[in-house]
Symmetry: C2
Subunit: 215 residues, 2 copies
């Protein structure tokens, strides 16, 4: 059975995974686009959108591994888009255009039901209204034994950590201070939840930390 | 005029500078002695206590620079010792034996007055009961234009950050999770207080981050 994991999840030095006031113009909140700089420059990221070039090395190694062996994704609704409350219509289809970079089933956690949305390239968005355990169960059914990747955002990763459902968490800490936003660590006692640090390496752009849960 | 700075201040990945329950046996709190591992192995640290050996390289560079050009220190009372409340007597003389590694005046912030305490090797402890600004003023008077080093602990560094009195903060982030304790960053909006990241490098033992205040 595959792992349940979060990978390539960027936080600031002060622990924020997103800045305040997410919107269509600011998917990471105001000023938050500085967070994933390490990732946007990688060969792996560029290739996802059909572009050549980009960096190789440590950052790219983590970016590439984050995409390997993923059988299904789970996303919070704010990672899917900036729409809040009931869906006004079905016109919003994610941040990623017609061909999202998932190429697997993607389970979007929301309080508001919506029909499945099939995109090009193998991505289908399923909208799950009954919580993380239901989403995980449905993801397992379609992942063919591969990993389930919990993409974020912060509150979804925290829910998985608190429930002890995440086997592994790779955090890339960007060398920036945000000062406000959604904090990944605040109020979470990760050692008590069974997590410990297993890797710690740095590139000029980020410190890469992997936490695993003692089984 | 010298800088006011905190250097070689260790925090966990989740932002804790000390674990809970400091005591005579656990100066960094229970389980907190894992924090300064990067520092304890350096040549600089060993030399402070008259020992040979120890590592050179990045960690030692930061350890060494942290000690250079310091004209006076400011410490919170808990960094001076585990005694709480009024001093029962004057027998506690710090964690460091007869010859503390400061070799300068050291201003200890406390609510309880106590006579100056002159130690061997040039260290004199002065007990300051009227707050950080008074301590800083007195430190300036005796520092001969050298830097004032704010040694910690967490609450003292936070007070200096909040007051905008710290010019520079070097944090060594140890690759450990503590889960609880005194958090350096919680509730502080460092960018708003004028701080930004100026250096970011890592050794196998720590990620070294330097923050400076825009002047």
């Amino acid at each position: 059975m595959g792992k349940v994991r979060t990978s390539a999840f960027t936080v600031s030095i002060d622990g924020f995974g997103a800045a305040p006031n997410q919107s269509l113009e600011n998917p990471f909140g105001e000023g938050g686009m500085i967070l994933p700089t390490w990732y946007l420059g990688t060969r792996t990221f560029r290739a996802m959108f059909g572009q050549d070039g980009g960096g190789t090395g440590l950052d790219d190694d983590f970016a590439r591994k984050s995409m390997e062996n993923v059988g299904a994704w789970i996303l919070g609704r704010n990672m899917f888009g900036p729409v809040r409350g009931p869906w006004p219509d079905h016109s919003w289809k994610g941040w990623w255009g017609d061909t999202p970079p998932y190429h697997t089933p993607v389970f979007v956690l929301t309080h508001h039901a919506r029909p499945d949305l099939e995109m090009q390239g193998g991505t289908t968005f399923h909208f799950v209204t009954d919580g993380i355990e239901a989403a995980l169960r449905r993801a397992r059914e379609v992942a063919h034994g591969k990993d389930i990747r919990v993409g974020g955002g912060v509150s979804v990763v925290r829910q998985f950590l608190q429930a002890g459902l995440l086997d592994e968490l790779h955090v890339a800490q960007s060398p920036v201070l945000l000062g406000a936003g959604e904090n990944l660590f605040a109020g979470l006692d990760l050692p008590r939840l069974g997590y410990q640090v297993v890797t710690h390496v740095a590139s000029p752009n980020a410190t890469h930390l992997t936490f695993a849960r003692r089984s």
